[in-house]
């Protein structure tokens, strides 16, 4: 894959506040990248800088071979969808979708054909004569997407496009956006604060916090191998345990000993990060290493899985969160107060 969009040392300050600090990022052609982070992390500002709606304080943006750093929005090549959709309420759906085509002086017939094609593409054929206010939120967002794609831009920018929708519609539409993107092969950047959304659609995720990029990686890398405590905390649930790492891959948590994959030449304090699914209740064979006992303190029912809070004196006073399947709880007759063994996989431990 070749590099399509390159951000080099992008900075943005508002007065004395630094919204973005030296952002370097490369996006490949046809890639789907998500900017993920809490509100105020600078992700939307970065998107708006790529769109030319904000001007960076410093740094360069290259799109293809073109330096677009100083170009006004109209001279850049992208389509954009906003959280508010920004559909023109007084124009019909067809006029909205064809808005950018009319200006290119395309023939009437070709505009009509293109609008039809786009409406079919987003799954709303035949809705051209209606007004935006007559459509549901999800339908409006599909129209906004069709409008952004009408002029066949090489870059698609999505600014929290799903956050105004209800949960079911959000899940459905994000998969539609993903499959549409793959069908068209258009390089896409989506801003979101929803980690599940980012994990489910992105080729790569850019995790941002306080104006800097914390980590860039595939969803699996971000989840499995968070580069910083912030990423580990922000993406997915995680247990943080205090321990001491000693030479010989020897980890002590509370009064328990664990084998781990990290070595050290001198004993030191560490924070151990463990995802709930990395603490197993089965299979555990007699004599397995890294096993400790705990008692169930609370069960939060989530459907087929339950989030279970476990107290384990042997690893300290902090409770531990693990996932247990509903079936397992039933089979074993487990309830609050039950005691059972848990096992930790050494290769899943993250140290900071």
């Amino acid at each position: 894959m070749d590099d399509y969009l390159r951000l080099q040392g992008i900075r943005k300050s508002f007065g004395s506040f630094q919204a973005l600090r030296d952002i370097d990022l490369t996006v490949s052609r046809g890639e789907f990248v998500c900017f993920l982070g809490p509100s105020g992390c600078g992700k939307t500002t970065l998107l708006r800088i790529i769109a030319g709606l904000e001007t960076q304080t410093g740094g360069r943006i290259l799109q293809g071979e073109r330096d677009i750093s100083l170009l006004p929005p109209a001279q850049r090549d992208y389509g954009i969808v906003f959280q508010s959709y920004a559909l023109f309420p007084n124009l019909s759906v067809a006029d909205n979708v064809g808005y950018g085509l009319v200006n290119r002086r395309d023939s009437k017939a070709s505009i009509v054909a293109r609008v039809d094609e786009l409406l079919r593409l987003v799954g709303l054929p035949g809705s051209g004569a209606r007004f935006p206010a007559q459509l549901s939120g999800g339908q409006q967002q599909r129209i906004a997407l069709a409008r952004a794609l009408a002029t066949a831009p090489n870059l698609l920018l999505l600014d929290e496009p799903l956050s105004a929708l209800d949960a079911l519609e959000r899940v459905r539409l994000r998969q539609e956006i993903r499959s549409l993107q793959q069908k068209l092969g258009v390089t896409t950047i989506m801003v979101t604060h929803d980690q599940e959304e980012a994990l489910s659609v992105a080729d790569r995720i850019v995790v941002m916090n306080q104006g800097v990029i914390e980590q860039v990686g595939t969803p699996l890398e971000i989840y499995r191998d968070p580069a910083t405590p912030f990423v580990a905390d922000f993406v997915g649930k995680i247990n943080v345990l205090s321990g001491r790492l000693r030479p010989g891959r020897d980890l002590r948590i509370g009064s328990s000993r664990f084998a781990c994959e990290r070595d050290t030449d001198h004993e030191r304090e560490v924070k151990v990060y463990l995802r709930p699914e990395d603490v197993l209740a089965r299979p555990i064979a007699a004599g397995d290493p890294n096993v400790f006992d705990g008692s169930i303190d609370k069960i939060e029912f989530l459907g087929s899985y339950c989030l279970v809070r476990v107290n384990a004196e042997s690893i300290g006073s902090e409770p531990l969160t693990v996932y247990l399947s509903l079936n397992y709880l039933a089979e074993q007759g487990l309830s609050v107060g039950s005691r059972l063994p848990f096992k930790v996989l050494p290769e899943r431990m993250r140290f900071f």
Partner: protein, 573 residues
């Protein structure tokens, strides 16, 4: 990394401007230039004149000192202040009760009462003065009442106070109705649930909620009375006030220097009240949350009856004013021969100068409505929806708000000083209809501007960004999206300009020539000439014209609304 970068690397980056952005910048600059030339410079000239002697040498505050040493002029200042305070003290509570009846009671016919109370807005300000003379003047039908109350006659302070009350009533009413309409039903439900008495609810919820509206209304009333010219001119007799002094000094005695001093005196309270009002308004917006539930009054027999009686009395007074003007305009020879006749209308229109004056008024109103709406809306759009020239935008914003703080009389004075100056290349405009139109647009600029800004802010802020991404220039989006959505607002702004231009006197009185004299000015001249019947007829004609125009604008608005606002209606399913 960034912390170690030398400062020299961090030079400001500026995006290149697209040519369409430059079109917007040029338009913005043109608006600024126009507001500077037709607003800021004339006002600055007043300031300069106030500090010069008649040979244009700088004399500092000498003119102010000489003003203070002239007891007659000082007396006018005192008169203006106490009359304004008294009118405010009477009119605001009256308007509050009326607004309370409209917003918080279940009386029938609210629409009718509201319309009647707002009639004075459609009439020239001095209609109430002329009517008062017919009611209580030396030959008035009820002149005995005045004597019985211990006054010698209606001319002077008593007449001015009463007439001004009628003039400012609808202005205060509009502010108070919207203040009382902004009530959160949840507060009242909570109060009822806690068993709070009606009286205590009024003093702990209603009154504090309307506090800012009351302050606003009081400030508006005070400023309107302070700077009104027509009423003291007609019914003031030899009771002098600041506004009449300015006219006498500048037009009568050609004493521009002291005229400028009085002009500044008029400007000061207006600017002060404007500043206070602005602060108050900012607090007001923060008060009501989006989650508030609008208050709906519930019937209460005794209270509703009381409110109905009050509304009837006030409406009757309003109608008595208008009715007397109509009656007088139809009377053959007041008070000796009251046989109805159209003589005053016919004579006025044919013989006296009313006919041509009406043509001028229509030209002024149409010109102001047409060009004013274009300029105001374009200005607001450029300000709110385009990019770049960030340093200029606060300047435009301030200049657009300034006219609210400038009384018409002061604006007109500034126009005389500025455009009548021999060296001014624009002096050719002086006394032309063009300048009258420009002056009237500037005079009423702020309200139109705020209306336009409110409508524009309601539009999605990303329309322009989406257009730019689709390579559609902003003016295409302006034409295809912004204008069609905002047509109802445009009609509102045009109506506001039209009606105010029909009835305005204060700025225009300094600027007209015999060819451009408007109907509202003609009333003054007829009144001076003792043609009271014709003056009343002229008042009625203006009121009728404003009313017809308002109705036409409303009809046009409804028609345009049906044609352009189809998208607002839900789908037929």
């Amino acid at each position: 990394m960034s912390a170690v970068l030398p400062l020299s690397v961090q030079r400001a980056v500026r995006q290149r401007s697209h040519w369409t952005d430059r079109v917007a910048h040029a338009a913005l600059l043109a608006i600024v230039a126009a507001l500077v030339v037709f607003l800021a410079l004339p006002l600055a000239t007043i300031l300069a004149k106030a500090m010069q002697d008649s040979d244009e040498h700088f004399v500092g505050l000498a003119n102010f000192a000489s003003y203070l040493r002239t007891p007659a002029l000082l007396q006018s200042f005192v008169n203006s202040v106490w009359v304004s305070l008294l009118v405010t003290a009477v009119a605001v509570p009256m308007a509050f009760c009326f607004a309370y009846a409209l917003a918080r009671s279940c009386i029938p016919g609210k629409g009718v009462f509201r319309t009647i109370a707002l009639i004075p807005l459609l009439a020239p300000t001095l209609l109430s003065a002329i009517s008062l003379i017919y009611w209580f003047g030396n030959q008035g039908v009820a002149r005995g009442v005045i004597r019985a109350l211990g006054f010698e006659n209606i001319y002077g302070a008593p007449g001015v106070v009463v007439a001004e009350c009628f003039y400012v009533f609808p202005h205060a009413l509009m502010i108070l109705v919207s203040a009382l309409a902004l009530a959160d039903a949840r507060l009242y439900e909570a109060a009822r649930a806690l068993g709070t008495s009606r009286r205590r609810t009024f003093f702990t919820i209603t009154l504090p909620g309307a506090k800012y509206g009351l302050i606003s209304a009081a400030l508006v009333c005070f400023t309107l009375v302070m700077t009104d010219f027509g009423i003291p001119k007609v019914i003031g007799g030899d009771f002098n006030m600041l506004a009449t002094d300015v006219f006498k000094l500048v037009i009568g005695q050609q004493d521009f220097q002291r005229g400028a001093v009085v002009g500044l005196l008029l400007l000061t309270p207006a600017v002060l009240t404007f500043g206070v009002d602005w602060l108050v308004q900012r607090k007001q917006t923060a008060m009501l949350s989006a989650r508030a539930i609008p208050y709906a009054p519930s019937p209460s027999r005794g209270f509703d009856a009381l409110m109905l009686a009050y509304a009837c009395i006030v409406s009757a007074l309003m109608l008595a004013m208008l009715g007397m003007a109509i009656f007088a305009s139809l009377a053959t020879y007041w008070p000796y021969n009251l046989t109805p006749t159209l003589k005053h209308y016919v004579l006025g229109l044919v013989d006296a100068e009313v006919g041509p004056a009406f043509t001028s008024s229509f030209q002024l109103a149409a010109g102001t409505a047409f060009f004013g709406t274009i300029v105001v809306f374009t200005g607001a759009y450029m300000l709110e929806k385009t990019r770049g020239m960030e340093a200029l935008r606060p300047v435009v914003r301030m200049l657009a708000m300034l006219p609210m703080a400038v009384p018409g009389l002061v604006l007109g004075l500034g126009y005389i000083f500025f455009f009548n100056a021999p060296g001014n290349p624009l002096s050719g405009l002086y006394q032309t209809m063009t300048l009258l139109i420009v002056c009237t647009i500037v005079h009423f600029y702020t309200t139109g501007h705020l209306t336009a800004v409110t409508a524009l802010k309601a539009l999605d802020a990303e329309f322009e960004a989406v257009s730019a991404s689709l390579k559609v220039p902003f003016f295409t989006t302006f034409r295809r999206v912004t204008l069609p959505i905002c047509t109802p607002t445009l009609v509102d702004i045009a109506r506001y300009f039209f009606v105010n231009a029909m009835t305005t006197i204060s700025a225009v009185v300094f600027l007209y020539s015999p060819e451009t004299k408007t109907a509202s000015i003609a009333i003054l001249r007829l009144d001076e000439a003792g043609e009271a019947g014709a003056a009343a007829a002229c008042c009625i004609l203006i009121t009728a014209a404003s009313t017809v125009a308002t109705l036409l604008f409303m009809a046009a608005g409804a028609w345009i609304g049906r044609r352009t606002q189809a998208w607002r209606r839900p789908a037929k399913s």
